[in-house]
Amino acid sequence: MFQIRIHGRGGQGVVTAAELLSVAGFREGRHAQAFPSFGSERTGAPVVAFCRLDNKPIRLREPIMAPDALIIQDPTLLHQVDVFGGLTKDGYILINTSRSFEELGLEEFAAGFRPERLCTVPATEFALKHVGRPLPNAALLGGFAAATLQISLESVGSAIREKFPTKVAEANIAAAAEAFAFVTREIGETARAQTG
């Protein structure tokens, strides 16, 4: 089972991101479970959503306390919420930011993790460019596909098409594709830096 925890703020499409991820997994024939951390929804309040992917039916209903991957939609949460709680040293982290882990003050924290699994992507910028609104969730799913290879970019696209009207869907798919390319390039650079 592969478990993903998504952190963001109310209004950033955190719950939708988990839902889309589960649909993408389903499209690939996997069992998938997505659910929000239920609360009184308020714009701007910290929100968490969860997604599990597995090759067999998923019965577990507890929140994801030991994720394999983290998607952080809003870097201002880093110092407010225990976003990294339970993450193992071989886990994946994808942060929506135009800054690096070092610039975010996470250099010390990042030591011990596998560097190619620590990714950043300016998803809000890509969303503004393609969608015209600061909704980073679809772009982050493109980045997630590139970082973890758990789902394909095509499945992310078909999940987005199922959810949104054509015009909005295509704009989000373009943002996801740019994020996918960005993260793929980033991982390549990290690998070269390690070997070189």
Partner: protein, 417 residues
């Protein structure tokens, strides 16, 4: 057809396939997505003939459902929590009048303190109202139980409540197999009422009944529910024949054959319990699970049979009989052939508190080692409770309890589990 959808959407589609003729709706979380989904189907003309009636309260929702059902329509509504309490008088009436209304209860805690999260207090507060109460383990079963519920309700002329865990199931996206209209039509014939308000053939429904006949009416309601204990498994078998999968019935058992310890529970927590039991089985612990799918009528014989070889029973329930302990566990103890002292009550998940494998391992281990109290509150923060009690001893005007505890524990938004 396999689909990856929200639990509420799956239920809305299943209810639509049952061709309800009147849907009464009043919004309350976590039920709202279900009637919203049905409202969209009605307004798009995909569900017809069907009247979708927006009412001004839950009391009106059940009252309109009663009127619609008495006029011969297949009637459906959904609610949760305070909404169920607000309609309680009409809930009893629907059962007393023998009207086959189907209602989803998206289980949620009851205030005060106000809390929108899941537990089973709402449905279990109505356990003696005369409705059949079915509990879903996952979204597939929630979907399937609605189809079975209409059949059951109309065959027996009794209302049926389908209980599914609020948020945990209603808001979860998971894979479901949606049946075809042909399959549902083959299982569920058109509604043929036993009683109907018809101007061409007038009858009275709901007359006053005095001491000379009230006991007999009540006895017949009880006898009908006992009759349902035979019909529910039969219709679950019929369901399997048409739809090709097991769903519903009275109880589900899991790895109980040689189990010395059996855990009993209702609803979606069964999944987490089964995963925990699998992990304990790998360590050689003989432990199994009894899931209660039908809480009312209470399946005494099925529970007794499932527990006949158990050396101890742990009832894990999301409900609390304040001043007594467990609600489900009291029913289980009455059916358990061994000593009631061997039936442990674990109150868990109240107001949406997460029930984790880690905590389940701990409490099951304590039961096996004979260290579990008769009534335990899973993951209760005793330090906080003790400080509140201390303050109450020290000062007369100790203040409101809930607010004091919130101050004690601080910001909760930062917590994940």
């Amino acid at each position: 057809m396999l689909k990856q959808v929200e639990g509420s959407a799956a239920v809305a589609e299943a209810v639509a396939l049952c061709r309800p003729q009147v849907i009464c709706a009043y919004p309350i979380s976590p039920q709202t997505h279900i009637v919203e989904g049905l409202g969209k189907l009605v307004s798009a003309g995909q569900l017809k003939p069907c009247e979708f009636i927006n009412v001004e309260s839950e009391f009106a929702a059940m009252s309109v459902a009663i009127g619609a059902s008495a006029a011969g329509a297949r009637a459906y509504t959904a609610t949760a929590s305070q909404g169920l309490l607000f309609m309680a008088e009409a809930v009893f009436n629907a059962a007393g009048l023998g009207l086959p209304i189907v209602m989803t209860v998206a289980n949620r805690a009851i205030g005060a303190p106000i809390n929108i999260w899941n537990d089973h207090t709402d449905a279990l507060s109505q356990r003696d109202c005369g409705w059949i109460q079915l509990f879903a383990e996952d979204n597939q079963e929630a979907l399937d139980l609605h189809i079975q519920a209409f059949r059951l309700a109309e065959e027996l002329s009794l209302p049926v409540m389908v209980c599914m865990d609020g948020f945990i199931l209603t808001h979860a996206y998971e894979r479901v197999d949606l049946p075809t209209q042909e399959q549902v039509d083959a299982y569920l014939p058109p509604y043929e009422p036993r009683q109907v308000l018809d101007p061409a053939d007038p009858v009275s429904i709901g007359a006053m009944v005095g001491p000379e006949a009230f006991m007999e009416v009540r006895y017949l309601a009880h006898a009908k529910q006992r009759q349902a204990l035979e019909l529910i498994p039969a219709w679950a078998s019929e369901f399997k024949r048409i739809f090709g999968r097991e769903s519903g019935g009275l109880t589900h058992t899991y790895r109980i054959e040689d189990a010395e310890t059996v855990v009993v529970a209702l609803g979606s927590v069964l999944g987490t319990i089964k995963d925990t039991v699998d992990e304990m089985r790998e360590q050689g612990v003989p432990i199994g699970v009894l899931g209660i799918s039908c809480f009312r009528p209470w399946p005494t014989s099925a529970v007794r049979a499932a527990l006949s070889n158990a050396k101890r029973v742990v009832v894990l329930e999301k409900s609390l009989a304040v001043g007594l302990g467990g609600i489900v566990s009291n029913n289980v103890a009455a059916a358990y052939p061994g000593s009631p002292d061997l039936v442990h009550t674990v109150i868990a998940g109240l107001g949406g508190r997460s029930i984790t494998r880690r905590s389940l391992h701990k409490v099951f281990k304590e039961a096996i080692e004979g260290r579990l109290e008769p009534v335990t509150f899973l993951d209760l923060d005793y330090a906080v409770v003790d400080r509140v009690l201390q303050r109450e001893r020290e000062q007369r005007r100790s203040g409101p309890i809930a607010e004091a505890i919130l101050r004690e524990i601080g910001l909760v938004a930062a917590k994940i589990g």
